[in-house]
Symmetry: C2
Subunit: 132 residues, 2 copies
């Protein structure tokens, strides 16, 4: 019996409609452009909105607000609005968010460390393709 | 001196145009919907295209081809075309790809394990929002 027969005889492990979709969205939130940076930044300490925006750089107020709301709704960050004048809002990681941040940081650091190898592979690939 | 002054006085650590973009794309490739599944699946063993497609499920031929090309160009998977009839093409992880797959699997497993907590957080968030 060929390996392909064995594989085709079983139900797909990743039947997207059934199993993958619920957590696919969370994966997208934590690996989004700004999601990654917010999670990593908040590992250091809590931040106010304006501080966080400066620390991350080049993120619009609207995009940062959306990112924070999404991560707050997922239970990854805590939003603490202080009843003072002027209004003060602090953002921090929840325990769940710290776990997510550690995973995401691992992946981001790996990507950064291995970027040289990826660039070399791309050059070699493009050379093969243009030569063939 | 306020913390915010210190932060604003330094250049952003994540000046996107300068530092983030090169590896941002790799991060997107490995965390893409099909990229995650291809990497995790290939941790087991090499796969032929048609086997891989069945194993992953619900991915179009075009999308899987694109995903494999992208990961091959990044140096994460190896494409081995055998000179036989009918043509046979095997895909396997490179050493670099295995590293990426381990990181991605960690994140995917975390997301899956914690999905219940995320769902609870979302219900609580939505209740707060509709009540306020």
């Amino acid at each position: 019996m060929a390996v392909s027969d064995v594989v085709s005889a079983t139900t797909s492990k990743y039947d997207i409609g059934e199993q993958m979709c619920p957590y696919r969205l969370v994966l997208e939130h934590v690996t989004s452009r700004w999601g990654v940076l917010v999670l990593i930044e908040l590992m250091e300490r809590p931040y106010r909105f304006s501080e966080l925006r400066r620390a991350i750089g080049r993120v619009s107020e609207k995009m940062l607000t959306q990112t924070l709301q999404t991560l707050e709704r997922d239970g990854l960050i805590h939003r603490d609005a202080q009843p003072v004048i002027p209004p003060r809002v602090d953002y921090s990681l929840t325990d769940l968010g710290r776990e997510a941040a550690e995973q995401v940081r691992g992946l981001a650091l790996w990507t950064k460390d291995r970027m040289g190898d990826v660039q070399k592979a791309r050059v070699a690939y493009d050379a093969r393709k243009s030569g063939s």
